[in-house]
Symmetry: C2
Subunit: 196 residues, 2 copies
Amino acid sequence: MEDGTAERIRPRDRILETARDMFHKHGIKGVGVDAITEAAGTNKMTLYRHFESKDDLVIECLRATACSANAMWQKFEAEHPGDKLAQLHAWVRMAADCLMMDGRGCDMANAAIELSETDHPARRVIKELKQAQRDRLVGLCRDAGIGQAELLADTLSLLLEGARVSLQSVGAEGPSAQFVRMAEGLITSFRGAAAR
Amino acid sequence: MEDGTAERIRPRDRILETARDMFHKHGIKGVGVDAITEAAGTNKMTLYRHFESKDDLVIECLRATACSANAMWQKFEAEHPGDKLAQLHAWVRMAADCLMMDGRGCDMANAAIELSETDHPARRVIKELKQAQRDRLVGLCRDAGIGQAELLADTLSLLLEGARVSLQSVGAEGPSAQFVRMAEGLITSFRGAAAR
DNA sequence: CTAGGGTGTTACCGGTCTGTAACTTCTAGA
DNA sequence: TCTAGAAGTTACAGACCGGTAACACCCTAG
């Protein structure tokens, strides 16, 4: 065989990236394949040569999002090698930054809400990827020497998830404005409980 | 005039209630007006005689949801008259029950996510109603004698909002399973801080 | 130069969506 | 009983949706 799909211009990547952006901004059911391909500077046929269906494209977008999240976790480790507590604080800061500048919430959660059919193929993927993120946060808390690592990680998860959705319903001046204070307070509290 | 829209059979109410149920289960963009009217045992023309548009129907449904929430708060006061702390615990219990038996999250939050257009008429309504709920929870915390009432109320809000969305993305075995433990722990913690 | 795969273009299919028009049927009240 | 208004029925408009077929065009590897 040749050297696989080479490094050219690759409309597939343009479609994928454009779709991620548009799904994020307007929701999955809020944007059609025509709009995506037009924004990506290509056409519908090319999309369907690279993706089986719109659902397939959605799933691929979610995987790409998870991949981006992976990169962030690696950045935490690179910036604070070995210092798990610093990495946890970096996670809080990153989460807050995303809240501030984004406006729209987590792609996975939004997709889960939009795709209400319980047997939708994307739901399996969402559950897997979310579970992986949860496990990683639990691991970080545990490695940071926190006693009830699962409970802290789950609480932080819910706080962030809640902040993201509250940002869209109540607005930026709502409860989500206090996210950092809550998260840092919780970490302090859980660390105190462990030291005792 | 006659005695206004009398107390007969009233297809309008059937449409409204059916729409609430179907929007809740399948999302707003996931159900069409034809499906609503058929499930309500009526037809599209009758719907459009009572509601200006689908968006108008959506808004009316959200108002009805807010009305139901109002009734819950009155039940708290009726069951624990004057005892604000008991009412706060009742709120936690009610929230947990809703989580358990429902599966789909908060109609307002789901709508806010689905209706991503920033100028959508429903967004104003959602913000108002969510703000009102927040104010009420803050008031309850304050009246229960908790020092940092706003911070506790906002934290509880985010936890519940997060639990609702996490239930849909990660599932029932995810972080949302710990909601009661987190909420009760927070209340205890905040009460301790006030007593000191 | 040539062959072939990736790409672009156009047109189309069948379905669903919101919303409306015109007409008939029912029902309640005087 | 008669009448007015609410409700049901059918058909339709116009737009958009996901997905496909057929064909012309590159552009590069050999």
